[in-house]
Symmetry: C2
Subunit: 114 residues, 2 copies
């Protein structure tokens, strides 16, 4: 499969998500508009995030850092994390295990992939 | 952390690997020279592979397909898979759960990241 063939879902204002998963792993590709904020949250799922494009201020366990393409972040189970997109569109690849069952509610693609 | 700061290990002729992992997830970034072959193999670990650069002929469960940047492959537990790099250098991101304990033997970086 290719990202261009995977349905795109608008999950919030300025946040589009594509996802693939098996039984143990889930990979989500997120496109986020400039200045979008994902509030600090945590979950029992282990997560890595790869920054593909753009610049982001992450808050991880209370500390801020700015990351950009080539950065990789690890959020162990239940570690609080949140993010603020800076002045450009951001593309992130989020990896989870176990899969985010909460992401699997029925979704309606907002548009064909571009 | 950033890929440029993560040690690079030469794991075979023409194959350099960087890796990060937690308790449940492992993410490896592989740089493979043109024409390198990774023979068909399988493992109980679930795997996704994201193609970041280059073109690769994958053999998955006996069927061949050619993939390139933007493609994502899923190898469920124990699914036989192998790959042949085509005429360009290839960069792959391999994601595993559980982590590949067999990759965690002591390693000597072959050179500083570039």
């Amino acid at each position: 499969m290719t990202w261009t063939s995977i349905p795109v879902t608008r999950v919030a204002d300025g946040i589009e998500r594509q996802m693939v998963h098996g039984e143990r792993l889930m990979v989500c590709r997120l496109r986020l508009a400039p200045h979008v904020v994902t509030p600090v949250h945590s979950h029992p799922h282990a997560q890595f995030t790869i920054v593909e494009r753009g610049r982001v201020r992450f808050t991880v366990d209370g500390a801020d850092r700015i990351v950009s393409a080539g950065d990789v972040l690890h959020f162990p189970s239940n570690l609080p994390h949140g993010a603020t997109m800076l002045d450009e569109e951001v593309v992130l690849v989020d990896i989870f295990s176990p899969i985010r069952e909460d992401f699997l509610i029925p979704e309606v693609p907002c548009h064909a992939p571009d």
